[in-house]
């Protein structure tokens, strides 16, 4: 309940009953929002092909960079 503690920024002069009711109400809201989203997120899986696709892209990127900046002697690169 770290987050709920952070949310207690109401004036202190409110009646105790009112504060506890509102805190309870906020907790219910939090449960119906963040908790629902968390449970939804827990069910979602990253597409299995994504890592391979990313690996291929990085490989292409590096290959393209190698073409643009070939490993030539410094004096040849100066003449380019």
């Amino acid at each position: 309940m770290k987050r709920e503690r952070k949310l207690n920024f109401r004036p202190e002069h409110q009646e105790q009953v009112s504060v506890s009711e509102q805190t309870s109400h906020h907790q219910e809201e939090a449960e119906s929002a963040e908790e629902l989203i968390r449970s939804d997120a827990a069910r979602i899986t990253v597409p299995p092909g994504l890592a391979q696709r990313l690996s291929d892209s990085v490989r292409e990127e590096c290959a393209a960079a190698a073409v643009v900046h070939p490993r030539l002697p410094w004096w040849k690169r100066l003449l380019k």
Binding site: L7, E29, I37, S55
Partner: protein, 190 residues
């Protein structure tokens, strides 16, 4: 994650060892630890599993290119979230300019099935996912982003404020309204 700071991409001349992702331990670690969070954020912001996959791919590719620029001022996760939020925002703007709208509630669950134990459980998960997507689509964009970030326990309020370009007090005030908007809308989707 200090590996990322200590091992930036030195030059455009990629090290041959980095041609294979498996050879870049820091990047593999970055992907493994954060891909699910980034994919889920993209999925719920874009509402389409294929677009979310494309966005996640692009976010990590950008991260790979910019690893050398990462200064460590924020956490790596916050840095990735920043890239993802900007990327999704740019996609939305591009779609609006071209009048392309995503309406893929059904596709979300057809192409991204959850690992569930029974058909009944699968149905419940599907319905919940559809309701959450529908709810998030109906509340203001600002609230949607705040709630999605808030659901990540690893993010502090200050980090959420930084990611949404708002003050801490502004975010605190909006959290309550965002929760209320979500609860009201979610109840209507039943």
């Amino acid at each position: 994650m200090n590996l990322l700071v200590n091992k930036p991409l030195e030059s455009p001349e990629c090290d041959r060892a980095r041609l294979d992702l498996a050879g870049s331990a820091a990047f593999v670690e970055l992907y493994e630890q954060n891909s699910k969070a980034i994919y889920y954020l993209a999925l719920r912001l874009l509402g389409d599993p294929q677009k979310a996959e494309d966005a996640t791919h692009d976010v990590f590719l950008k991260a790979y290119r910019k690893m050398g620029q990462f200064r460590g001022d924020a956490s790596v996760k916050t840095w990735l979230y920043r890239i993802a939020i900007n990327h999704c925002r740019n996609l939305h703007q591009a779609w609006q300019e071209r009048h392309v709208f995503s309406n893929a509630d059904q596709a979300v669950w057809d192409s991204a099935p959850a690992p569930t134990k029974s058909p009944l459980h699968a149905l419940e998960a599907k319905e919940l996912g559809q309701r959450i997507q529908s709810t998030l689509d109906q509340i203001p964009t600002e609230y949607r982003l705040i709630l999605l970030l808030l659901a990540d326990d690893e993010l502090s309020y200050q980090e959420i404020a930084d990611l949404t370009d708002q003050s801490l007090d502004a975010v605190r005030g909006k959290i309550h309204r965002a929760r209320k908007a979500f609860a009201t809308t979610f109840a209507q989707t039943a």
